[in-house]
Symmetry: C2
Subunit: 151 residues, 2 copies
């Protein structure tokens, strides 16, 4: 019942590209350093984001750019782009069909889980990449203000 860090890392990539565009070279290596992973992992995620229409990349050149305005990219878009198992809960598929419970619980839980998943997805759909970027920048500004006071 665990979503991989691919989702988090993908949001990270997109936010990084937006914030550091024109400031540092947007190589998979630099992005990987910020995430704390390898450049290949970053390129693999960027490939998926590109296929989902969220990111433009140039083969051979470190010039990735967002394919849409950050206000038009939701966390749910990112989630769908990079998670292949988009289910938050897992149905046990090996239950005994001969049993009243085993024979009906899979369908029953599919419905119950679906409601919960949609509720979560709706929240992700209502949070934009821009919201995330804004929050990151606010937190950074707060951090720097605190730092200055300490000096």
């Amino acid at each position: 019942m665990k979503i991989s860090t691919r989702f988090s890392d993908s949001i990270h990539i997109l936010a990084f590209i937006n914030i550091y565009h024109g400031k540092v070279p947007l190589t998979s290596n630099n992005i990987a350093s910020s995430i704390g992973t390898s450049p290949v992992v970053v390129r693999r995620l960027m490939s998926q984001l590109r296929k989902a229409g969220l990111l433009n990349t140039v083969h051979g050149a470190a010039e990735p750019s967002l394919a849409k305005d950050p206000t038009a990219i939701s966390l749910y878009d990112v989630f769908l782009a990079v998670e292949d198992n988009t289910h938050l809960f897992t149905i046990d598929h090996k239950t005994n069909p001969e049993c009243i419970v085993g024979g009906n619980i899979q369908e029953t839980l599919t419905e119950a889980y679906h409601q919960a998943e949609v509720a979560a997805e709706a929240k992700l759909a209502r949070t934009s990449l821009q919201d995330i970027i804004d929050t990151i920048l606010v937190k950074q500004a707060q951090k720097e203000a605190r730092q200055r006071k300490e000096d």
Copy 2:
């Protein structure tokens, strides 16, 4: 990173105990046959459900019983009882603190994920074990009606 079926299996256990109470011996073996797992896995989950105050068990005797009315047990109660990592999304904790993004994204995503998680949890909290049992029994009745028509 394998996704846990513990949540599904635990709902299964509780529904089984309610539906088959007085009809078949409620041994961990019988319950395991319905789920398609081993008796030890069942006993381990039952132990957690007992500690969470959802189930009564008797050491040495096959007499488990629900500790509360099924209308008073929510899926979220079960979820909390048997899942140790209750987070639906995973934060990447190894991001680079020196970077504006790496240094602020963990907190930022914690907040965003929390909203989505609460929305899903609220749906789970509003679905009771009784709802699940009712649905299982309705589906079973439909199945049997279809069966009779075919004969």
